[in-house]
């Protein structure tokens, strides 16, 4: 690994100030993604080579799970995934989130990987992560996946760039209507997680609304309403150390087997976590059964635009939506 400078931040304000002063700085939390990024020696406008790492693990009181029935759930940015997955409050009130936090990589990574890091990790694309491919994010004007090896790439909302969003917890949190507390030079603000991620048509060089000197400090999830259920399913080739081929998170208010309200969010299919509003609209007021669940999947994937090698993901995504919706009815 090449050399870099290191700075241990003492507070969010300190970290923001350091970022403001150093254009070539990057923030390190668990480091499981960033260190691989540095080892791969990637560089370009959307993949800046970090000369300075600002460590936010040294900021006090940033790892916590707080829950109360009225205010809902607060997760500190640096909370390890394992802590989220094993929290009794999360398991009881947000089972879909607990399962999604237990899905990334392996126990070793989940011990060091933080919840904010899981949301902020960069996309998986072997062209983005190969230093010799000058793709859009690295300053080029070409997406190698379009005519290349695209079996894992986006089937929805690809434009210019066909990366897929790799996070397991992002779809689960969006399904639960979570929001992010963002700290920056002007103080703190809340951003709905549904609006937090941006696709290549908005800005091909980054994946979130955060500016260079803004940080994700806390995640809030509203208190669960009566009869809210949630689930998360992820398809991988080998169970561990594997990003989703397709994942789906569902959360819904189910009364008498009828879908009153809820969200369906896909991971691994689009440059951002993909909110399947077509499925949500179709399910509203419907009795959950094989037919309505299949219909929700089919309607969502009407918009799919697969490339030469990834049409199989369309079928998996349809099946997965149906499977997840049905699981809520029987949960």
């Amino acid at each position: 690994m090449r050399s870099f400078k290191y700075y241990a931040a003492t507070s969010w304000e300190d970290a923001v100030a350091m970022l403001s002063k150093n254009a070539a700085a990057q923030v390190i939390a668990g480091g499981s993604d960033l260190l691989g990024w540095i080892k791969d020696d990637l560089n370009g406008p959307g993949a800046p080579r970090a000369d300075l790492l600002i460590d936010i693990r040294t900021i006090p009181n940033t790892s916590y799970v707080k829950f109360d029935a009225a205010g809902g759930l607060k997760l500190g940015a640096l909370t390890p995934l394992v802590t989220v997955a094993e929290s009794a409050d999360v398991l009881k009130n947000y089972p879909g989130l607990a399962k999604s936090a237990l899905s990334p990589a392996s126990p070793a990574i989940r011990n060091v990987g933080s919840i904010a890091g899981n949301l902020m990790q960069r996309p998986r694309c072997w062209y983005l992560r190969g230093k010799d491919f000058a793709c859009y994010k690295k300053g080029g004007d070409f997406c190698f996946a379009v005519t290349g090896e695209n079996q894992y790439h986006a089937i929805l909302e690809g434009e210019l760039c066909y990366i897929v969003h790799p996070s397991d917890t992002a779809p689960a949190l969006i399904a639960l209507n979570a929001s992010a507390k963002v700290v920056g030079p002007g103080g703190a603000k809340d951003v709905a997680l549904d609006k937090f991620f941006i696709g290549p048509r908005t800005n091909v060089l980054k994946e979130t609304v955060l500016e260079h000197n803004e940080l994700l400090a806390e995640i809030s999830v509203p208190a669960p309403a009566a009869n809210w259920k949630s689930a998360f399913i992820k398809v991988t080739q080998r169970d561990v150390y594997d990003f989703a081929v397709v994942s789906v998170a569902v959360a819904g208010q189910i009364e008498g087997g009828v879908w009153k309200d809820g969200r369906v969010v896909l991971g691994g299919v689009a440059p951002t976590p993909y909110r399947a509003t077509a499925a949500e609209d179709a399910l509203k007021g419907q009795k959950i059964d094989e037919k309505s669940a299949r219909n929700a999947g089919d309607l969502t994937l009407v918009k799919a635009r697969p490339m030469s090698q990834n049409a199989y993901k369309v079928d998996i995504a349809k099946n997965l939506i149906a499977r997840a919706v049905l699981s809520l009815a029987s949960a």
Binding site: M1, W126, F133, F144, T236, D315, I316
Partner: protein, 780 residues
């Protein structure tokens, strides 16, 4: 019935030393030599002294690795544990282009970086010096990842920083990365030194008249089958430390064959082998990729150490390994079989294109090994087989656990399964009907032992095949999205041959302990423990009394490579022979001592050894002597069950049974480990591992362990191993090799079980969710 056979392979005398090594290792020359005197078949060899398994005191039992405690407590010294205070660390700048010419290299900035002690490019490599034909630093890179410049610095970070300061300009040259394209006459040349991309003479084998065989057939089945590019991914990455002391060179290296490295480096540097010492105390897995192969990195550390006068260490990153090390090569096969209604095979026709990559020293033989099963496994009067190796601008092809056989047997056994269905036969019966139980059909060499029929019958019985298979009507009969199925395959492997060099010395020092001096590597199969068990059994001593040296070329002789499933059979035979010689010398010494002490003529054959004590059989009152006192004077079958999730395409293997004819079990614990490890590597071959190139640029996209998917412990199914002991005529105590055969069965077994479960026949590896979902869609 008179049949004519012809096998065209290669001219052994014209081979390079690296090629000869490969040919020797896999017994390929024996095939050719065998053809010459094929007129009169040899008599079947006599079996080794038939001794029931219970008659042995040490072999056949479960024995933990005698040195396992060192490994699990971190005390075992691997190459990565070698450090010197003034040592330098190497990083290498690699070609981003699959084929190019270096126009210019500017290393001046890198050389000025504090801490950098040496920078090398192709201009610094002595003229004509190569690593077994590969450029040590390339001026015309032939694949992405070819080494271009090397830096030695006081630590790895500085060396890595220096790489970014080296400016290389290239002229891009045309390239080709698919063997099927490269084979065509108008294809771009993979290297400018080539006349065409064909590697060596194509392999051809004919027997009888194949067109007549198909004309006589009631059923003809045909497939186009392809298997993927893989890397071995031994847990320990390649690395070496080189240290010159005046004219003496020492290399610590992770290796399956130190003597080969010593010989090739010595020849290349013009040194006598006595001045080159190569040490590999422990090796963290090899699978054929560390079989003494000449890699550029070995020459780089040696040259950089000579240039700087300091010890130099290069530990390859995983991506470096993917790019520089050898690959299990992709094979593109067309295969066609003809059958009579009763299941009799009438014709086999196959063509195999092996993708050799750039520079493979083995290129000419890669294709022939993929056709071994088609030629040998079943009795068939009419065959026509052709194999070509093709040079491409991709990873260098080499030998990975069983070389080409896994790809060949996958294709053959897929087709046998399909034929069984079309003939309405039990797939087990179809194999039994056609088994070749006599020997090599071309060389007429009989099998040294053959337990294939017994393996199939006992394996099917243990798996409860009939009960679980339920006939062809059971295909795709499950309800719900997750379908279960079972599959079967059979395999006769050419691996595990006996071949030179086989040397060992058994020393009994004055304290009466037993030391086995040999040069074979300890690569994860507990090889040293196996050899100790053989020696202890042969000498009738306790296992604890025996120690085995690590490979160090300074004081061991060349006993060949630990690869080709030969460690137990060939090296085992060497240590057994040495032990038997030592035993005889001990008895002679004891007899002469007792002749003097007892004042009568005591003969050596009146003595026996039990647990390390020599006793005089005719008179039990004579106090036994301690050693100190005396000195002071190969085949397989597999069944498996799995689940196919028809909504996600994910295949989960649940239950694997492998039944192998192993001749004789030496260490029951480690032989099971071989089958279990082989099963997992075979399942990875079948389902997940895939080294993929971007076609437009020739750059590999899965040269890391995230995208190149090795299976994990949680993917391990129930694995049952069944050992058939046929007491081989050649191996020590009747043992034969197992390391490679254990990898081969899963792929075809899984493909056949997927068909049984979901009614889809997959003909391309790996059988990942993409291919399963695509096949299901096509079927629907």
């Amino acid at each position: 019935m008179p049949t004519t056979s012809k096998v065209t392979t290669f001219d052994y005398d014209k081979l390079t030393s690296a090629e000869k090594q490969f040919v020797d290792l896999y017994g390929l020359a024996a095939l050719q030599a065998g053809i010459a005197n094929a007129e009169s078949p040899a008599a079947p060899p006599a079996r080794s002294a038939d001794k029931p398994a219970a008659a042995f005191t040490i072999i056949g039992k479960e024995q933990r690795d005698l040195e396992g405690y060192k490994i699990v407590t971190g005390r075992a010294r691997f190459t990565a544990d070698i450090y010197f205070p003034d040592m330098l660390y190497v990083r290498v700048k690699r070609s981003p282009l699959p084929h190019a010419r270096v126009k210019s290299i500017d290393t001046s900035k890198a050389e000025k970086l504090p801490g950098v002690k040496a920078v090398m490019t192709y201009k610094d490599i002595p003229e004509k010096m190569t690593a077994g034909g590969r450029p040590i630093l390339a001026s015309e890179p032939g694949l992405v990842g070819d080494p271009i410049a090397a830096v030695a610095a006081i630590n790895e970070t500085i060396a890595e920083d220096a790489l970014n300061l080296i400016d290389v300009q290239y002229d891009q040259l045309p390239f080709v990365i698919d063997a099927r394209e490269a084979e065509k006459p108008n294809a771009p040349l993979a290297l400018s030194t080539l006349k065409n991309n064909l590697a060596g003479t194509p392999f051809k084998a004919t027997r009888g008249d194949v067109s007549k065989g198909f004309a006589d057939a009631d059923l003809v089945v045909e497939h186009v089958v392809d298997t993927q590019d893989q890397q071995h991914v031994a847990m320990e990455p390649h690395m070496a430390v080189a240290k010159w002391d005046r004219d003496n060179l020492t290399i610590w290296i992770t290796s399956q064959y130190t003597h080969s490295t010593a010989a090739s480096v010595a020849a290349s540097f013009g040194l006598p082998t006595s001045r080159v010492r190569v040490i590999s105390e422990f090796t963290g897995g090899g699978f054929g990729d560390k079989a003494g192969i000449a890699f550029p990195y070995i020459w780089l550390v040696t040259l950089l150490s000579r240039k700087t006068g300091r010890p130099v260490r290069y530990e390859l990153t995983r991506t470096d390994v993917f790019m520089e090390a050898t690959h299990h090569y992709p094979v593109y096969q067309t295969i066609k079989l003809g059958f009579k209604k009763d299941g009799t095979l009438t014709a086999i026709q196959a063509r195999s294109i092996a993708q050799a990559g750039a520079y493979s020293p083995f290129a000419g033989f890669l294709a022939s090994d993929t056709l071994s099963a088609a030629r040998v496994q079943y009795t068939c009067a009419n065959i026509s087989l052709e194999g070509v190796g093709v040079i491409t601008n991709t990873g260098v092809a080499g030998a990975r656990r069983a070389v080409g056989e896994p790809s060949g047997v996958f294709a053959l056994e897929l087709l046998m399964d399909e034929a069984a269905e079309k003939l309405s036969m039990d797939p087990v019966e179809l194999r039994l009907k056609n088994l070749n139980e006599t020997g090599d059909p071309e060389s007429k060499q009989p099998w040294s032992s053959n337990g294939l029929r017994e393996s199939i019958v006992k394996g099917a019985e243990a798996f409860k095949w009939k009960e679980r298979w339920k006939g062809w009507n059971a295909v795709n009969s499950g309800t719900g999205p997750v379908k279960r199925g079972v599959g079967f395959m059979a395999l006769a492997s050419n691996k595990g041959s006996k071949g030179p060099p086989m040397t060992a010395v058994v020393e009994i020092p004055v304290d009466g302990s037993v030391r086995v001096v040999q040069g074979g590597a300890h690569i994860g199969g507990s090889q040293r423990t196996t050899w100790a068990m053989i020696v202890a059994e042969a000498l009738s001593v306790k296992l604890e009394q025996v120690s085995v040296t690590p490979p160090d070329t300074a004081f061991t002789s060349d006993t060949g490579v630990v690869a080709g499933s030969r460690a137990t059979k060939s090296i085992g035979l060497a240590v057994k022979t040495a032990a038997e010689d030592a035993r005889q010398q001990l008895l002679v010494n004891a007899a002469s001592k007792w002749s003097k002490d007892l004042k009568k003529d005591v003969k050596a054959d009146e003595l026996e050894i039990n647990e390390g004590l020599i006793s005089y059989k005719p008179d039990a009152s004579v106090k036994p002597l301690t050693f100190a006192q005396a000195v002071a004077s190969g085949f397989v079958i597999v069944d498996g069950q799995l689940e196919v999730n028809t909504e996600t395409g994910v295949v989960r293997v649940l239950d694997v049974l492998q039944a192998h004819d192993v001749g004789r079990v030496i260490n029951l614990l480690t032989i099971r480990s071989q089958v279990e490890g082989g099963s997992m590597q075979g399942i990875g071959f079948a389902l997940t591992e895939d080294y993929i190139y971007d076609k437009a640029t020739g750059i590999p996209v899965s040269a890391n362990l995230d995208d190149y998917k090795m299976l994990m412990i949680n993917n391990t199914p129930k694995i049952t191993s069944l050992f058939i002991e046929t007491n081989d005529a050649v191996g020590p105590f009747g043992a034969k090799g197992i390391g490679e055969p254990a990898l081969m069965p899963p792929a075809a077994g899984i493909a056949n079980a997927i068909y049984h479960a979901a009614g889809i026949r997959l003909k391309s590896l790996p059988m990942n969710p993409k291919k399963v979902m695509e096949a299901l869609k096509k079927k629907a």
